[in-house]
Symmetry: C2
Amino acid sequence: MASITPLILVGGAGKRLWPLSRESMPKQFVPLLGTQSTYQQTLQRVADSGLFSRPIVATSDAYRFMAEQQAREIGTDVEILVEPMRRDSALAIAAGAAYAAKRGAEAVLALASDHLVIGADEFRAGCREGLEVSRRGGIATFGIPPTEPKTDYGYIRPAGEKIGTALKVAAFVEKPNAQTALRYIAEGLLWNSGNFLFPPRLLLAELARFEPAIAQSAEAAIRDSRTAGNAIFLDKAAFEASPAKSIDYALMERTDKCWVIPARFRWSDLGTWDALLDVGDADSAGNVTDGPVELDHVRNSYIRSDGPLTAVIGVEEVVVVAMGDAVLVGHRSNLPRLKDVVERMTKGKHRAATEHAVMHRPWGSYQDIDRGERFRAKRLSVNPGGKLSLQSHSRRAEHWVVVRGIAEVVLDGTISTLHENESIYIPMGGIHRLMNPGKEQLEVVEVQTGDYLEEDDIVRYEDVYARV
Amino acid sequence: MASITPLILVGGAGKRLWPLSRESMPKQFVPLLGTQSTYQQTLQRVADSGLFSRPIVATSDAYRFMAEQQAREIGTDVEILVEPMRRDSALAIAAGAAYAAKRGAEAVLALASDHLVIGADEFRAGCREGLEVSRRGGIATFGIPPTEPKTDYGYIRPAGEKIGTALKVAAFVEKPNAQTALRYIAEGLLWNSGNFLFPPRLLLAELARFEPAIAQSAEAAIRDSRTAGNAIFLDKAAFEASPAKSIDYALMERTDKCWVIPARFRWSDLGTWDALLDVGDADSAGNVTDGPVELDHVRNSYIRSDGPLTAVIGVEEVVVVAMGDAVLVGHRSNLPRLKDVVERMTKGKHRAATEHAVMHRPWGSYQDIDRGERFRAKRLSVNPGGKLSLQSHSRRAEHWVVVRGIAEVVLDGTISTLHENESIYIPMGGIHRLMNPGKEQLEVVEVQTGDYLEEDDIVRYEDVYARV
């Protein structure tokens, strides 16, 4: 039987990777490297059913459908712990541990969903070592041998005692300045990757010693949870009762049961665009490129386009990320300022500061393709089995043209089936629903006309995703 | 009666202002500054009917509809000399002179369509001085008092003789190196702006002395031209017989009849993006911005977005131009390389290297708004009175939704009138035509489905623009 239960943590907004990462679809769901998101790559990493059991994903209501859909896309079955609010990592991991314990898990592997790991075999070998630590009553953490004196990571100081290659932790230390970081490297300290493996009951017991309120909240959040399908909605009152602390601060820096496994895989937290330059395959001028880009006299730069033809001439040490609706140009040394800049653009009410062109919904996604004075055109993409709510609009009519797949349309009580190249007209006020009864994706071009064309002109009569 | 006949020269592709300027719609037709194109601004500059008569526009077949439409947009009536091929400026100006002479013009003002002039009164005052020069048997050229030692302009050396403020030209000199340019400024030389005012018969007579083949070709091209509406199609054989030389090389550097008027207006040839930084209103950090951009620690840069939300952080002396389908990032000192880069991208078959998202047609314009495996969506914008060809497609069907204005549709011999929020289906093989019978713009969202969706799947049966 599989011994390790993965607990995938799907958290924040990832503003430091704007414009690819935005609040509407943060970095863990975006294909930063290759065709899969880091969340999907994380799930793939724990897909070995001899070692890992079905993953638990901890996320918020805003991201649960995306977490489910992206797991389904790669054929992975997950359980989703829906956090009623953000309360930092200690509570999220503790609630995951409590749920895994209830499920009878021997060991839990808490993994960030937005990290990059290169070396799947080495990763699994590390997990096996962590399992051995946990069987001997320890909490294992993965330490990364530093390659440069980073000042934005915490470090771990190992002591002499060993279990296999795992070393007893002497101390977790805070982010250092540059000089201290150099000393840490010389002294053999490791980067703290923030990924842990532990027996769930041990973690809860240790947490109960240092942060009893968090441990109690975690147990209560699971005890009073509500289950719907594969989603477990954690109790809101329990969450509200908990302090918000990071797992490092709440537990790791205080327990004496920690062991660190020096990682033999390559790792990055993909915290800034600079990380993509570090992990990518650079050309002879030190550039990493992706997409339709043309460089001329460019050095040590990361140039990426997810669509627009992008010409870059005569610059060094820059990051350029071009999308159809948003562009970033930044000097590498100033990238830490990106978060503030995105916050400023958000305050400036720029839609693209927080929203992607493609908006995800439980039934699939849509994107604006055109907009004018009294009209708006969208492409709707409906997953197999997906079903929009039964709805009506008071100020717009809609024309639907099916361009791929099969649509089942309800209009004022009448059901029609539409194939590719067929269309239907939804008059203003008509009560309608769109479904995909087929096995392939349904794509519909929707042309709306009217004097008000925003999302809030909608009356929902029924919704399989409980949004009525 | 108006004394000066403007001859507006609408030429090349303007690769140095990519991506705003592209082969499908070069810089003179693009609103570089403000809401009008420089071509329209040039027409406005000669709209004083007391001084200027109806303008003649010399251009190629590729741009004649755009030249006509943009003139109509600002209520200007033009005649268009359609050049059968590009044969450099000497022939274009000589043909324009021959046509103007035939029309009885006293003086011709040859103007580039892609220059910026600030100071309409000073410009007209200069033209009046040029008219005086031409009445006294001279060719007047506008010389720009240099503001910096430019190495990419030719210079004009004035002599002492005067007509008003016009100075006899001692010599036209080639583009200097930086040191020579400094000396030229000290010696009182002026930039050659390439705009001239002359009696048409005098220009042709002088040209006949130095380049008789060009002068003869120009006369023959007009004599054997064909007129259709306001377009005069110049004779191809005559053009083919002519050498291709610039007017400076063919005539100005050789004639002794040239006078230079020191310009009192501000002028730029808008030759590179740097020019936009020179003529724009810079903020306290030396930046000129346009569109939805957010800057942070940026200096002496030109940042422009025609759509995408654009964040620029920590760079200096750069040009960033962002459009939905193309992006330029360049250091100012390397901008002369842009032309080569655009040529490389053109060879690389990148559509956006040469074509804009909006494609202009005699009846209006269209743009792709979405594209998938077996479908393509466009927005068609049809001018009042505009009429697409009577056509059919063998591999696609089309759905049209009128989103603005009134459409008259012919489908297999049946005429229908469609208003906003009405739609029609054009089956594969259906013989159809779309017209705008109204007084406002007609906008149609077109959804094509089929297995081949390119422009060349078209049979044209009739076309009011003679494209059958």
